[in-house]
Amino acid sequence: MAEGTPLLSLLGVSKSFGGVQAVSDISFDVRAGESVGLVGPNGAGKTTLFNCVCGQLRNDRGEIRLEGRSLEGLPTYKRARLGIGRTYQKVEVFTDMSVREHLLVAERARRGEGRLWKDLLNMSAPLRAELDNAEAIMDLVGIGALADTSVNALGLGHCRLVELARALAGQPKILLADEPSSGLDIHETAEVAKVLRTVQRESGTALLLVEHDLSMVGEVVDRTVVMDLGSMLATGTFNEVMDNPAVRHAYLGQVGGS
């Protein structure tokens, strides 16, 4: 990547569903190691934008680039292998798998492994390095004690951490976290925020965070982008955008004052 090239660039991205313009002409960059918050009221188009970045939806117009390379036409799995990790608003874990297995799947998926002949020759057992890496990530996220527990037996808070650990096992260059505190109580939210800060500090992974809990956003991100009704309303530091009257009107239903 050339010096100064943003890690992720969104250039005029638009997406509509029938007559509904879900995302309209969104442009912003995320630099390597940077933490960016993406906030806005329900229906602002944040998750749709995430889906466009991941390739789960095709944007109608505009371009998405990772390290200067256009992602146009690339399917989801190829984007993931290029370094886009993701967690989901509605938790998406693999039922019947243990926590460790989640991470092992992610490790190999990142490298595009899965040769049938290797399985048939019994050459697919997890390697020591893979197990060590999984242990390290579980410890980083704070779920090391749950390594052999089936996710069926975990509560929502732990499942969110499993999702986060699974995404990190893919060694992403940028992590898209979609409402990681959704459904969590205040203590669990604080725990997730702490983990996100630690991850960003220790692994240098860039973070694009969609979150309704503004105190968590203010705690975690370097910069904030505000969306409303599919359009970009404001960008700047968290305090700057929160002081923006248009943002307060759209997001908080207030004009002026605090």
């Binding site: 798998m97 899965g114 697919s124």
Partner: protein, 663 residues
């Protein structure tokens, strides 16, 4: 023009027969969320009872109609709802499909068990409406008899009544709400159970009505006639996205008109007439599945309360304590050794043949463990793929003198190729859509390739000759050598499945089963994984088909028709689709139970009762998706652990954990 009308007009009543069933499917789906594969079987049951009463008991048409259609059919629908579908969460699409398939397979087999074998001919029946044997008038030189008039009149009445019910009544509105989420409309004060029960009773009444109306078209009673009718109806309902009564009716009539018109113009002995024309409804169905985006999202649950459903319970093997695991594994090895020694020494010939047949069938069933149990993909054509392997190896033996086992490898490869083509065609289909696509493929093979005398030998089949195994002097078909062959192949197939399960592909498949979106988001190529698992399952089914052919000494089209593909699903689901031992228990269990029933008198001695037993066992899938046998094993294991090791196992039989999604 007159010639065209002469060909096309008879297609209208023909299409109306599809339309009645299609509208019934739409109603059931609209009101209950269940795609009722058993609709044809319900129609068959009503027609069977109606004809039985009018012909054998000499009732007049109207009281027989009252009993079979007005009373019996709605009661069957209410029973379906009360004992079965009410207990399946809206979000569990697989359970709904599997349970309706069980009914589809079980009901036609149940009739001869209850009433004994009957030679019924519906053409001679006393009809409740117009007389089927009277030509009322001619229209463009087409004689319009009572069947035509009844069919068209009933179709129009049903179409108008159902459209009015669904669009303009509060009951219709409640039905549409209940199909999204029964629990949610209950919170609004709607008696959703009552609403859904009414929907089941109404759609079952329609099934009965369709059965009685359509039976005279077919003459002698064959459940298969009603199944073939289902394909045209499914195709029409699919074009209406299982929601639009007018579109479903229009497409059904169009299929009828196009069929009779093409039949009129095409030379009767041509390939197009004999092979392509019967396959027309399948092509219409496949086109709907490929073209309509709405068919890809049929199973997406819109129930906002779906996350309160607990996850499926773990398998017995996954939930037992390590000490118990060691004991059970040791016991299995002892049992296997005892079985092998017994088979080679003292077991009587009849039982030896039953076990050999079971081992051969188990290999075919392992393909279902792989594709459905491990990958979560519901394929309804594994029997067809087995047939591809069987006929390929038999043809290679006939024409090239190739050893059956060597030809079997070619057959397995060809079955894998067919499976890959199917996988590629159905890349975007899941759950019900995939089930319909694979069912269409099975029926297509039945009416084309398997129906061709040059491929399958016709109804007489292809008889196996000992020299095709290259060991005529040594090989004894019913003896120990066959047992050794079956065991070797089965052990290899089991090894393949187990190695794949614990390998990277197996973990990727498990991830896909858990969440396709998250799996793709990690970098798993879903297309590749699907193609791999389809190919592997196809190859195993194909070689299993060869093994069954060797065991039966014959390759016959009747052994590989679509019905067997469905029966195979029912067998494996009963014993446990997620485990390798589930497939083996299903294969051996099927033949052992069949053999045991031969000791019973008369009508209880055939395979009908076995199919009924397994079908009704498989209905437990609604409550025990791990398989009723697997459930019992887990329960026994927990009980033993509790008493042997004093392990606190919680409530016996209850799921061991709660959903991660609802905290």
């Amino acid at each position: 023009m007159e010639q065209f009308l002469g060909f096309a007009l008879p297609g209208i009543p023909f299409g109306c027969t599809y339309a009645i069933v299609a509208v019934g499917l739409v109603l059931t789906y609209q009101a209950t969320g269940v795609f009722n594969f058993a609709f044809g079987a319900q129609a068959f049951a009503a027609a069977f009872v109606f004809t039985l009463l009018t012909q054998n008991e000499h009732w007049s048409g109207f009281p027989a109609f009252l009993v079979s259609v007005v009373v019996m059919s709605p009661l069957i629908g209410l029973a379906f709802d009360h004992f079965l579908f009410r207990h399946i969460p809206n979000s569990n699409a697989m359970a709904k499909v599997v349970c309706s398939l069980c009914l589809f397979v079980g009901i036609p087999s149940l009739m001869p068990v209850i009433f004994g074998a009957q030679n019924l001919d519906a053409t001679a029946t006393i009809f409740p409406f117009f007389n089927p044997n009277v030509v009322y008038f001619n229209w463009f030189e087409t004689p319009i008899n009572g069947i035509y008039l009844s069919t068209i009149t009933v179709t129009v009445v049903v179409l108008v009544a159902l459209t009015a019910l669904l669009r303009y009544t509060s009951l219709g509105l409640q039905m549409r709400g209940a199909v999204e989420s029964r629990r949610l409309v209950q919170l609004d004060g709607v008696n959703s159970r009552g609403v859904v029960a009414i929907a089941w009773a109404t759609s079952s009444f329609m099934a009965g009505l369709a059965g009685v109306l359509l039976a005279p078209n077919y003459g002698p009673f064959q459940p298969n006639d009603f199944a073939t009718l289902m394909v045209g109806a499914i195709a029409a309902a699919a074009w209406g996205l299982l929601r639009s009564v007018p579109i479903a009716t229009g497409v059904a009539v169009l299929i009828g008109v196009v069929s009779t018109t093409l039949k009129g113009y095409l030379p009767t002995s041509s390939f197009l007439s004999s092979a392509v024309l019967p396959a027309l409804p399948f092509f219409v169905l496949v086109a709907a599945l490929l073209i309509l985006p709405g068919m890809r999202t049929l199973d997406l649950s819109r129930d906002p309360l779906s996350t309160i459903d607990p996850p499926p319970p773990p398998t017995a093997a996954a939930s037992r304590a390590p000490q118990m695991d060691r004991i059970i594994r040791s016991a299995w090895w002892v049992l296997l050794a005892f079985f092998c020694v017994s088979m080679l020494t003292w077991i009587p010939t009849t039982w030896e043949a039953a076990f050999n047949a079971g081992l051969a069938l188990s290999t075919v069933l392992l393909s279902i463990t792989l594709i459905t149990g491990m990958a979560g993909q519901l394929s309804l054509c594994q029997g067809t793929l087995a047939g591809v392997g069987a006929f390929t190896s038999a043809q290679l033996a006939i024409h090239l003198g190739l050893n059956m086992l060597v030809g079997g490898i070619v057959g397995a490869a060809l079955a894998a190729v067919v499976a890959v083509v199917l996988a590629l065609l159905s890349l975007r289909l899941r759950g019900l859509g995939l089930a319909l696509m694979t069912l269409a493929a099975a029926l297509l093979f039945d009416s084309t390739f398997f129906n061709a005398v040059s491929i399958s030998g016709g109804t007489e089949g292809l008889n196996l000759k000992a020299q095709w195994l290259g060991t005529s002097a040594f090989f004894n078909f019913d003896g120990h050598a066959l047992f050794i062959l079956c065991m070797v192949v089965l052990v290899l197939a089991v090894a393949v499945v187990l190695l794949v399960r614990k390998g990277t592909v197996g973990r990727n498949l498990a991830a896909m089963r858990g969440s396709e979106m998250a799996a793709a988001g990690l970098g798993i190529n879903l297309t590749k994984q699907r193609v791999v698992v389809f190919a592997l399952a196809g190859a195993i089914a194909g070689f299993g088909g060869v093994l069954v052919t060797i065991q039966q000494q014959q390759a016959n089209m009747n052994d590989w028709n679509y019905n067997y593909s469905l029966i195979f699903i029912v067998l494996v689901v009963t014993t446990g689709v997620a485990t390798v031992e589930g497939a083996i228990q299903a294969g051996i269990g099927f033949y052992v139970v069949t053999q045991l029933l031969t000791y019973l008198p008369g009508r209880f001695g055939g395979t009908s009762l076995v199919i009924v037993l397994f079908a009704f066992g498989a209905l437990q899938y609604a409550r025990h998706p791990e398989g009723v046998l697997e459930f019992q094993k887990r329960r026994s294991t927990l009980w033993l652990e509790h008493h042997l090791f004093d392990r606190d196992t919680g409530a016996v039989g209850a799921p061991l954990s709660t959903s991660g999604a609802d905290g």
